[in-house]
Each structure stands twice: as structure tokens, then as C-alpha cells.
Amino acid sequence: MLHRGRYRIRFAQGRHHHLLGAYGNGGNSTQQDALNKTLIPAFEKANPGITVKYVDVAYDSLLQKLTTSAAGGKLPDLVRADLGWVPQFADLGVLEPLSTSMSDYKALAAKDYPGSVATNRYKGEYYGLPLDTNTRVLITSQQALDKAGVSEPPKTFADLKTMATALKGTGVSLWADSKLEAWNIAPWIWSGGGEFTNKAETKATGYLNSAANAATIQMLVDWYKEGLIPNLLTGNSGAVATQDGLPKNDYATIFDGPWMAGVWSGSYKDFHPIYAPIPAGKGGSVSVVGGEDIVMTASSAHKAAAAKFIRFTQSKQFQIEMAKTGQLTVQPRLADQQAEMAADYSVYSDQLKTAKSRIASPNQSKIDAVLAAALTPAFTGGTTVKAALNSAASQIDALLSGD
């Protein structure tokens, strides 16, 4: 959009859904202030002739707004997209493949966590660069550790089993989570030594239904049946939420992201969470990458200017300023500086070194629905773990082949 002889980049943003869910509303004024008052003015000063108009859209509305904008052919130049949407919109043909159009893409991507960069991949091309990142780590409390009679957070699956035995009959659940989607079970699958698909992400059968995954899921099912995992996992929307259950000592451990500190600082001021890496299984300690990517729309009339802003998002200035607002940096070289702001960030930074991205597919939402629908009966007693994994794998095969 030409604006008084200067380029105006329209820039839409959606906050991460976990942040939104944690705060219960769409507002995060610190991020908006950082962008509007510090970063965008700095970029505009360094790039005379370019004006960035930043439009903040609540996460819940952004997908609908982008869909409507795509239908009307009125997309902004840049989008701060939930990483799950990148393959979906790339498949619709509305995103610019940056790995082709930006000559320095490889050099820029090389500075970021590989797992975060991978979230931009779709059919051999990369459609964006990581903007901010997050991952899930184990969070527990001293109360819970005392109840289980252990001195430190569980480091391995074996430690978790020991904790499970100690917590049996105490009324405290070993671990809690709210769904059986990829975001929830990926840390278990990968840490247990399993995979969702082959490397090319074209086939789930033979991978998702492997013996390693069956053993990992069976371990969770056994805990569920022993009452050590609440039915929040299988879709009980009336169960105690993880953000409440951990401080109230209903749950001994949860897996969650860096936004939880903000949630608890508001609602549970006296609660002191303990952060630790995901317990390691046969595959090590592997978590799942979350966060947002910055993507350029194919319809942008100002691609060169938009590319400049994308490069700016990869600068130390941008990354550190956003880290101050609770958005983890995507660059390992800045992890130490970030840890100086909040010591707990170092657990997340270390976890990100091995964290992996979920299946890059426009059908990611459907894959999540398949996983939840297939695995839930294994927990509630409707089927066996092996049958559930076989069913999920064959359905995901169909979705991957339909990409």
C-alpha cells in the first residue's frame, strides 16, 4: 500500500493460543508496546521510505480474518502466523516461498533453532522464518516432589515410574494434560524413541504404530487406568485445568510453556514452579516446538520492503526486545542473554536444542483430530493401544497422501 510516497507494510499478528488460553483474553499489551513503540520505529528510522502498520488481532480471530482476507484477495504483506498455519496457507498458495525469493534465506535460517526453522517447511520449500519460539518442559512443585518422596524432578521415564508408585492412592495425579493431540503427546512419542511418520512425512504406518510408540502410550494408559492421569486428558472439559491443578497440588507434573509463569504470577502469587527438561526415555529428552513464524504473502506488492522487515526480525535487537516480553528467542546464540532476564528461560533454551516440529501438513488440524479420536478409546477402555495406533496411522496416511 502506497502511503504518502512511502511504502506501508501491513502486518497482521496473532498471539500464540497458549498465551491466550493462559491469560483468558486476547490482550498482551507489552508485546504490542514493544513492537509499536520500540521495534517498528527503529526499523522505520533505519529504513526511510518504509512505514509499517501493525494490526494486532486476537489469536481466536486471526485464522478467520486471514481466511476472509484470502477470499477477498486483501491479505497483508506480512503475517505473524501460528506455526501450525504455515503449511495450511502455503497449500492455499497465499504465501511467498522465502527459501526461493530471499537469497540470504539459508544464512538467516542457519542462526535459528533447526526445529523452529522446520516449522516453515512445506513440500521442499520454506515459507517463513521463526519469529519467536517456545517449547514444553516439565513443570512441578516442591509440594509435589515432597508428596512423591523425591528430591528432584524426574529426569527419566524410570524416575516417573518411581514417582507414580509413590503417588498411588494419595489423590495427587502424576501428570496431567488437556488433550491427546500432537502438541500433547509428541514429547512422549519422541522421548520414548518413536516417530509420527517417515522423514519425508508421507507415511505414518510403520512409524506411529511402532513398538516403541505402543510401549510409551501403554505406559500412559496404565497410569490413566490407575487414576494417576486425570480424565482431562481424554476430553473432560469439566476437569481441573493444568494451570490450576499444579499449584493446588492436584497434579504433580505437567508439560507446558514459558507463558505459564505469567499465569501463575497473577493467579497464584505464592506458587513457585520448578522447571525441568522433559523426562528422557529411549529417545532422550525431546520436546515439541511451538511459537510463531513470520511469513510474507504472495500477493504483497512490496516484497523487497517486506523482506527487509523479515531480516530485521532476525536481528539481535528484535529478538532481545521480544524476549523481554516473554517471547523466547529463536536464536541459540542469544540464549545466555535471555537467561539473564529470567533464569527459568535456560531450561526452555536447552530443551529447544533438541525440540522437533510437528508434521508439516495443511491437514495438521485433521491429524490432531485423528490422534485424539483414535487414542482416547485406548485410555477409556474401548480398544487396545496397538489397535488405536494402527487406526490413527492408517487415517493419517490418507491425510498425508491427500496433501
Binding site: L63, Q64, Q88, G93, G235, S237, G238, A239, V240, K366
Partner: protein, 322 residues
Amino acid sequence: MTSIPTRGTTTGRATGSVARPARSPRRGRLRVGAVPYLFLAPGVILFAVFIVWPAVQALRMSFYDWKIVAGAISRWVGLDNYVRAVQDPHFWLSLTNSGIYMLATVAPQMALGLAIALLLKRKSPVQPLFRVLFYLPVVTSWVVVSLLFKYLFADSGLVNFTLHDFLHLMNSDVSWLAQRGTALVVICLLGIWKGIGWSMMIYLAALQGVPQALEEAAIMDGAGRWQRFRAVTLPAVNPATVFLSVMLVIGGLNVFASVVLVTNGGPIGQTDVVLTYMYKQAFTYLDFGYGSAIAMLLAVLVFVLAVLQLRIARGRADEALA
């Protein structure tokens, strides 16, 4: 001083210096005939633009593998989306849930609405207060009452506390929202509670029209309260009953907000209703062709049911007259 013939008087006499030719009867009729349409035009145009055109567009989309992006070519798939719906077990599950909601909520809303209207018909100093209290849920936001019910029926909510901890009617807490059956009960209870006030208001208005003479005649004939209710009151409020049943059936099949807010279709889609399933297909999976086909199937079902209800009601009225 001049006087001008009154509008519409074709034989108006010119009493001043300005003489106007008499208007022909045909031209006058045309002008009068166009006026009502001009008044209707804004409403019709708005209806056509915001209701008819989107509906026609949705019908068109249902025959395509619709690509949402502007300028993208959508592939014609004929009836494939409809065949897919018929063969989709989750569509049938969502339709069954919508049907259960409709069946479970329409009759109680009408029966309780009528009962409360009968109680509030009598003059009493507290009658206006009770009318407001019963109507309050109707004007309260769906979001507010849905979240309220979600918290009431949560595992550690007030319902479990009352039934288990306080009254000791249950051995343990019930996870109301963890199973399809109990979750649907919660959603239906919410629908009934929120809808009673509206039925009450319609029946209150209808009860004002019950002929007093008939009531008195029935009393003179020795009819008891129940007999008077059956023979006088019920037939007199029959038009309201027909109106309510048609509107509530349509509303029941279109249930959406409460399901999204209480269970969001969970656990694992077991409480999905047709509109939540349609919404997921269109706006989560961007499968607008399939979503439109589901919407069309629901529209046809609602239309057929409404026509059937009106025909049955008209048939009964004819029988009564005969």
C-alpha cells in the same frame, strides 16, 4: 389565494388562476401501486443481499471443492460433498445430537413456559418481579450462561458438591462433561432453562386472549380446573403453541453457541451438533464445500420439519372446525 386540488381527487376543481390538467385514472393507479413496493424495497434488498445471496452462494459452494483464495479455481464435484456427508458417521452423530437436543428441549420449554404463564397470569403484587426473573435468562448472553453451566457442572462444581458432599445422593463426583450422555444432559438443561422465559412470554400474551365468557360458561357447566384447562385454555392458545413449536424446533436444530462454549464438541467430537461440525469443516479445516453441503442438508431438514408442523397444525384446526 389559490387552492390546489387535494391529492387523489381526479375531479378537483381549480378555484384559482393555476389550473392543472386532471390526472388520468390509470396513471394514478400506477403511482399508488408503486408506493408499497418502495416501502418494501429496503427490507427486500437487505434480505436479498444478506440472506438470499449468501444462501445461494453456499448452495453453489456445496457443489465444488471450494478454494477460498480469491481467483483460485474451484473444482466442480457435483453431489460428492452430499454423498460424503451421507457416508460420514460423524455427520450422523452430530445430526443425532442435534435431534436429541431438539426433542429434549422443545417440549419442556413449552410445558414449563405454559405452566409458569398460568401461574403468573393472576394479578399479584410480586407478579412483575417474577415475570422479570423468569425472563432474565432469555436476555442474558449465551456466553455468560454457558460458562456458568460449565462451572456448575465441572468436576469440582456446585452440582457435584450439592449432590455428593452435601446431600450424599452420589457415592462420588460425576464427570458430567466427560461422557457424551451426561454432557448432552447439561447442554439440554441449559437450553431448557434459558428458553422457558421466552415460551412463558408468548403464552402470557396468548392467555390474555382466552375468552372470559367461555371460562365462565365452563364454570357454570360444572367443569373443574383441569377440564377448563383442557377444553378452553389449551384450544385458545393453540396458535401460540404452533408458533412456539415451529420456532423452537428450528432453534433446537440450530443449537451452536452453548455446545461450543460448554464442551466444544468434546470429548473427541462426541457432543458435536450439526452446526459445530459444519463450523469445524469450514473454518478449521477450510473445507468450505463440505461445510456448505452440511449447512444445506440442515436447511432442508429444518424447512421440511417446519412445513410438516404447519400442515399438521392446519389439519387439526380444520378438523376442529368441522
